[in-house]
Structures are given as C-alpha cells and as structure tokens.
C-alpha cells in the first residue's frame, strides 16, 4: 500500500512508527564538565542508546613529547588532567625515575605524597561542588570552592602557580618547601574535617539529594571491571582495589589509611566513597606532617640528571657545566620501557614511556582514568531516564582534558 499520494515519493515507514528521537547533548553543555558530546537516542524519556563523542580537546600531547627533552615534558603533563596536576607530574617523574633506576630522597618522597593528597582533596572538592551544582544543590559549590581556594594558595606558595604547578621534577622536587608552609598545611588539615562534616550536613541525609542519587546509574562489579573503570567508580561497586595500597609507589607503604568501598554501585555510593576519601586523604596529610624528615636533600644525587642548586651553579665550575649540559642537551635515559601506574583522584593513571637511549622520549603514552571510565557511561545510562544522565556524568568524575589529551 502506498503511504503517500505524492507521485515519485515513497515512504518506507508509516508515519509515527519511528518512536525514538536523537538528542544531541553538548559539546557546550555546562554539565558535561568540559567539551563532551553525547549522542542520545531516546524513546520518550527513556534512553535507548547513548554514545560519547570525544576529541574536542585533543591537543596531541603524546606527539609533542617526542620532540621534547625528558625534563621539558613535565609542564605538559600538568595540562592533561588539569584538576590534579601534581598527580600527573608524579606519575611522569616516577616513570622516568624507574627508567633511570634512580633513588629519591625520603624528604622528597614525603613532600610528594603530601602534595599529592592535597591535590586529591582539591580535585574531589571540584567534583563535589560541580556534581552538587549539576543536581541542583548550588550552595555546596560555594562551600567547596572556599576550601579549594585555601589549597590553591598553598600550591601557589610552594610552586608559584595556582593550577599548573610543575612542582615535581625528575629526581625530586624543584625547590624546598618555603618557610611557614608546613604550619599552613597543618592549619588547613586541622580544620578540614569540620568542613567535610559541613558538606555532609548539606547533602548526605538531604531527601532531595538521596532521591536524585540513590539507585541511579547502577553498574555491576563485573561490568565495571569489564569496561575498565578504576578508582572510586570501581570501589563504589565493591571491588576493593587501590593502587596506593596494592602497588605502593613513592613511599605510600609508610602510611596507614583505609580504602573506602561500597557494595551498592549507584551514584550515591560513589558520592559516599569520595567523601570518605576526603577524610582518608587528610589523615595521610596529617601523617606526612608528623613524620616529615626535618632536613635533608630534596633531589636525588645525580648531577647529570638533576639541575644543581642555584647557589652552587653560580659558584662552582662543575655545577655550571652540568647545568649548561642538562639545559642544552638534556640527559640520556637508558633504553627500555616502563609502565608506571598511580592512583589518581579518578582512578588508575598510567604513563607508558619507551626510551631509545637518547635525551628525548621515544614514546610517551598516558593511560588516563577518565578515558577508560567514560566507557562505562552507556552501561550506566541505557534503559534509564534522560534526567539522570547529568548525575551519571558527574558521578564518574571525568575531566575532558584527561579524556582527550
């Protein structure tokens, strides 16, 4: 039967038979935390299919690194996951140090752990603030950014930069801690648990918050592993896996902390896991403050790799030569390959570095947690309501700079 009376026009399907609609979400949607585009096929309010479209922030960092000396890559790593620059610095430095077979002084390791945990708190605060704002609890954002400002001031004090810190260097850290820094960290660490109580007062038992989050975007532990999620998203479905404890790096084996988990696997569970992580991180910072070695070197004793102290460079001929050689020619790294994984605020952040024995890395690949976690989004959303997509995106805590690199 012809469905149209217009000659020459044939309609294959009956009008109204097509019940689904394609909805384009992003790339400029404010709740996608960057430039994520989601192509959503919906049937009424139910999602039939959802497909992430990424690459809008692809800057080719992996290609750029191949034309840089090893030490010149550190500032590039800041810009991958811009909410936890120090974790990126740490992963890259640890990987190159592993290639070099280099030993790092204890004080430098403890400084790294302390700043890394402060970075985790910083990242979780941005996540909590924006996630709550997406869902409609605008006030939490202001509270979170109040504490984040304190942290950014601390980062500025230690590195001169609020966000793109580049503070960790291959072989240690760039400068010793400034005077009065540890006191300020202590001040922050002492009052921060009360701040977390404040956030929890606003959210944890809030009926609106619970209604929007409980039972939303569930994922089973089997699916979560199969889809490659790591970090809080994986721990919220009951898999107790944290690289800080299970594959310790940078002296994490010296610290006592719990790994918060939940067996529920929904958005609310991920919220609870991350809030608990805030408390555990501040515990690690307190342990760092108590056990921080008083004085000692902050760089490895490797004059051919680590830049000399400024004072030595100005007074000693040898140091000046080493400085000149490192800056102009770089340093060679023995041929080989390493994969160094670190527990970033989002999950397993891994750097795979291949060296061919020259002063420039042959290949640097970043395994970014956001990229892998984003694959779980369709499994979380399909068959469920369109209104919950924003909660699901917030709960996997992606950073688009990290996804696209």
């Amino acid at each position: 039967m012809a469905l149209t009376s217009t000659p020459g026009v044939t309609v294959e399907r009956e009008p109204g038979a097509d019940t689904t609609m394609i909805l384009n979400m992003g790339p400029q949607h404010p709740s996608t935390h960057g430039v994520l585009r989601l192509v959503v096929e919906i049937d009424g309010e139910t999602i039939v299919r959802i497909m992430p479209d990424i690459g809008y922030l692809h800057t080719g960092i992996e290609k750029t690194t191949e034309a840089k000396f090893y030490q010149q890559v550190v500032p590039l790593t800041d810009r991958i996951d811009y909410l936890c620059p120090m974790t990126n610095n740490l992963t890259y430095c640890l990987a190159v140090e592993k290639l070099l077979g280099m030993e790092i002084p204890k004080r430098a390791q403890w400084i790294r752990v302390m700043l890394n945990e402060l970075t985790r708190i910083n990242s979780h605060l941005v996540w909590l603030g924006t996630h709550a704002m997406d869902i409609g609890a605008l006030t939490v954002f202001l509270y979170c950014f109040r504490e984040r400002e304190d942290l950014l001031r601390l980062f500025e004090m230690v590195s001169g930069q609020r966000m793109m810190t580049s503070y960790f260097r291959i072989g240690g850290v760039s400068l010793d801690l400034p005077l009065g820094f540890l006191e300020r960290v202590k001040d922050f660490a002492d009052r921060f648990p009360a701040n977390v109580d404040e956030y929890e007062n606003l959210l944890t038992n809030n009926p609106i918050w619970i209604n929007r989050l409980k039972g939303v975007a569930y994922i089973s532990p089997e699916d979560a592993i199969a889809l490659g999620t790591t970090g809080p998203t994986l721990r919220a479905c009951g898999i107790d896996y944290d690289l800080r404890r299970d594959a310790p790096y940078s002296g994490y084996e010296n610290f006592k902390f719990k790994v918060p988990t939940s067996t529920v696997g929904d958005v609310y569970a991920r919220y609870l896991v991350r809030v608990q992580e805030l408390r555990e991180s501040i515990g690690i910072v307190q342990q760092c403050l108590q056990g921080m070695p008083e004085a000692g070197p902050i760089k490895a004793d490797a004059p051919k790799v680590v830049l000399p102290d400024r004072e030595k460079m100005k007074t000693q001929m040898e140091s000046l030569i080493y400085h000149f050689k490192i800056v102009t020619e770089g340093f060679t790294v023995p041929a080989g390959e390493v994969y160094q994984a670190v527990e970033s605020p989002r999950g397993e952040m891994g750097y795979y570095i291949v060296s061919d024995g020259t002063a420039k890395p042959y290949r640097v690949h970043m395994r970014s947690p956001s990229f892998a976690n984003l694959q779980a989004l369709p499994a979380m959303c399909e068959g469920r309501l369109i209104a919950d997509v924003v909660a699901a995106i917030g709960s996997i805590d992606i950073v688009l700079g990290d996804v696209d690199r």
Binding site: G228, Y241, H365, A372
Partner: protein, 165 residues
C-alpha cells in the same frame, strides 16, 4: 635501585606464574619474553592473540581481569614496524604484565580483543586513529580523537610533529 640487565631468556623466567602458565598452555603462542625493571613483557604471535588473552584472563594462575591500556609503538623505519602494547592487570592477584604483538607495515591488521575485554573499545579506536592499525572484529572502527575527515595517522614517526606544511 640500580638497573640490572634485562632477562630475555624465557627458560630463566619460568619462575613467573604467567610465563609458566602460558608455556604449559601453548608454547607456540609465545614469540619472546623480557623481564626488565621489575616488569614482565611477553610477545605473542599475532594469530594466537585472542586465545592467549582469553587464557590469561580465565586461568586460575593468571586471572588478568582488567585491561588497563592498549597502545602502540612505531619503530619506523625498521621492520616489523609496529608493536601493539597491552597492559593487563589482575585485580585479585594485584599484579600486572605487558603483552605485545609485532606487526609489519605491509599488514597492519590485528584481531580486536573486545570479545575478551569490552574496555578495549575506546583504546583500540584511539590506536586506529593515531597509528592506523586495523582491529578486526571491532564493531565501530572510526576515528575518536581526530576529526572524521582527517588524513593520515599523527602518532606515526613519519608524520611530522608540526603537521604537514
């Protein structure tokens, strides 16, 4: 932590449960092994990739249930030019290892491990986009980072850093 020379003789690596299990399963699947800087690498033959990966995931002694990463290294101009690199992790055993497959530049096809680990989806698309490796059996082999109409594969070594002028 001074560097020790890499062990490349597979017989000396029999104390590693992964190597022992793979050798007991199918000796012909392994093309080489290396233990360097505390990391184990095994080269597999291309045609044995999927059964070997399935074995590594399911076998009691290995249980590599998480695929952490898939990437590629271009050794231009030497042949075999490409090495596809899989980082696999065992959450219950808390260990990781690296699996590699070498590919000639004349035939850049390899089986997709998406049937073993669905998480390889985005990773394989990225390797296809940036290196031009074809993953056979992947349901959606399209560019992921670069624009759809992009010409060339940017992470290849014969692709200049600043792009073509």
């Amino acid at each position: 932590m001074a560097l020790t020379p890499a062990i490349t003789d597979i017989e000396q690596l029999r104390d590693k449960p992964e190597v022992e299990a793979l050798l007991g399963w199918n000796q012909a699947a392994i093309a080489g092994a290396k233990f360097d800087r505390n990391e184990l690498t095994i080269w597999l033959n291309r045609d044995q990739l999927i059964p070997a990966m399935q074995f590594l995931r399911d076998n009691e002694a290995t249980r590599f249930n998480l695929l952490s990463d898939v990437t590629c290294v271009d050794w231009f101009p030497s042949e075999p030019r490409f090495e596809v690199v899989y980082q696999i992790t065992s959450i219950p055993r808390k260990t990781r290892m690296r699996v590699k497959v070498k590919l000639d530049s004349s035939d850049t096809r390899i089986a997709s491990v998406i049937s073993v680990w669905p998480s390889s989806n985005f990773f394989e698309r990225e390797v296809f986009d940036l290196f031009g490796i074809q993953f056979e059996g992947h349901p959606y082999m399209k560019r992921i980072m670069m624009p759809e109409d992009w010409k060339g594969h940017p992470l290849r070594k014969d692709y200049p850093v600043e792009g073509y002028r």
